[in-house]
Symmetry: C2
Subunit: 146 residues, 2 copies
Amino acid sequence: MTATPNCPAVAPASQRAIVWLARADLRPTRQRMALAEALVGDGEHRHVTAESLYAAALERGESVSLATVYNTLRAFCQAGLLAEITVDGTKSYFDTNTHDHPHFYWEDSGRLIDAPADQLQIARLPQAPEGTEIASVDVIIRLRRR
Amino acid sequence: MTATPNCPAVAPASQRAIVWLARADLRPTRQRMALAEALVGDGEHRHVTAESLYAAALERGESVSLATVYNTLRAFCQAGLLAEITVDGTKSYFDTNTHDHPHFYWEDSGRLIDAPADQLQIARLPQAPEGTEIASVDVIIRLRRR
DNA sequence: TTAAGTGCAAATTATTTGCAGTAAG
DNA sequence: CTTACTGCAAATAATTTGCACTTAA
């Protein structure tokens, strides 16, 4: 054991979740902690759907209702903790990486992953119409099996 | 009157619809003609949803069921006559312009229009992962009111 | 004639909501 | 304590489907 010996050990996954929720002034309730840990517990970026996050929470032995997963994902989005990505109309994906970046999407399996942002160079972008400004630019690279 | 005097007058909208359907070997049924005319009758590109196309058909005095609009839109897509565009998960848009091109999307009103393709220059694109190839690149420029 | 196309109503899927109970600050 | 959060079940919205009827070729 190293520093802060009086401090009870807190799993790093929980620490990350707490900090992440605090960033958006969201109460660290049991359910939110469970979802937040599944989302950012390991510090990796992740793409989830409501169903996949629900399944992940159950697998970790956490009990959360599907409705709460939906409500919580919405809350996380509004708080700016997640970005919603729409690829196929049937379901929404949520990305822990909220920076504007491109995605690879497998049309057959529905898999969605980040595409390397540094390998995308947009040299010129159409000008936003009068009275509007660009909120974000979604780039989805649709893949098919070769 | 000019040429082809023996040929009964066919409205140009109908002509365009017939040709358009024929391109995909789709039978020009009454309902398909009605929808095709609403879509490409004036030669302009158009972005519709199932509901908006249904409403447009009714306005033109054509009788089509909503289910048939859905089925027909899907048939048109499979035939390559339309491109489906997904912007917000709640509904699908269909574009008569099937070439890969960027779109402007108003986040507040749900309006979707073409963005000038010549004003978009993608200098570099991430390489498709092993075993895949790029099917298309969706670029949606999300706008907010300024 | 006959397979393809259509219309309806019921089914499905993803998501939201009303409201009574629970828990965090 | 008090207000935000949660869970359930029912509601909603977009879309699909089963099946009997119709129509273009």
